[in-house]
Symmetry: C2
Subunit: 197 residues, 2 copies
């Protein structure tokens, strides 16, 4: 409905996740009204990411190089390996500053309905990495939902014979949350996982 | 926190209106995971808009040419001129398919607190257009808020001496709305503007 290129931009923006037609229009007009320099920087940022960013050949985290900055960092604890679903999970864990080991990004979780089995995930590569005897503990940090739990169970069964310690992140009440509003599964888990004070 | 170019993209996306840090990250990873072709099309759409789109020299609507498609359309009723704040308003009115005249985009509304007076808007150009005797009615379609009403009042006073009919869009209950939830100002306007059935 707008002149060609404005409508093209609205259409392209509307394909991004979480951006409806109204937001797409608002952002398009923001782009129209902003300094050209800033907006060309956005266009270049998109282009650069598509041209430069690939997956780390060791852990499958996003990376601009063959291996990511975490895998290249020799000060990281080589004995710990944290298994996550997505690159975003790596960043969430990094923000806590409590973990200093390395990661393995599966690229998703087991989801039979969605057609994702162990072969679609980077599980074979995980097993190859675990042949390195320096890894003594695998921390499974898949999401605390149905698919994440199924993946955790699958991995822990697969690793029982290896002698490597396999742990899972604790489930329980979120810090700062309200017990009264916790769902019953979470509250149940918090009871099961209670600790001595 | 991510490798340079991913973080750059998240930062640039986070500057867009209505996109917080979480959305920026989600969109960035969507861009990473999508087909290169689609995402380069988005980058190009941004670049094209900044390079090609300007304001129509007649009505100040966004346009890829010196004059916009509405001003160029000779089938439009030349006697009617609808005055709006922004290009987005033109599009909203076009979607109704009830108006077949032309437009004049002010580029905002009078807002003394924000430092926007009549001189910052395309009001001088409006007066020049109105010297064309074919225009017999000016429909003021500024927003029904404080700034829009002030602008409407300013314009209607300015045009009293010209002999051109000046009208304002009706205020009242939104269609499909619920009388019970209408604010008192809107409901008051609906009473004032009541019509014989």
């Amino acid at each position: 409905m707008y002149d060609g290129s404005v409508q093209d931009l609205i259409d392209e923006l509307g394909r991004l996740p979480g951006i409806g037609p109204k937001s797409a229009q608002r952002i398009a007009f923001h782009i129209l009204e902003s300094e050209s320099e800033d907006m060309l920087r956005l266009a270049d940022a998109i282009r650069t990411v598509k041209e430069k960013v690939t997956l780390c050949t060791i852990c499958f985290n996003v990376s601009e190089h063959e291996t990511c900055s975490i895998c290249r960092d020799e000060k990281r604890d080589q004995a710990l390996l944290c298994v996550v679903e997505e690159s975003q999970d790596v960043m969430a864990i990094e923000r806590t500053r409590t973990y200093r080991g390395r990661y393995h990004v599966l690229g998703g979780a087991i989801n039979p309905i969605g057609g994702i089995g162990p072969d679609q995930l980077h599980i074979r590569e995980l097993l190859t990495r675990l042949q390195d005897a320096t890894i003594t503990e695998v921390i499974i940090a898949t999401d605390p939902n149905l698919e994440g739990e199924a993946t955790a169970t699958y991995l822990s069964r697969m690793l029982t014979t290896t002698g490597i310690t396999v742990t899972r992140l604790a489930s329980g009440l979120p810090v700062g949350g309200d017990l009264e509003y916790a769902d019953e599964v979470t509250l149940g888990r918090a009871f099961e996982g209670r600790r001595a004070l």
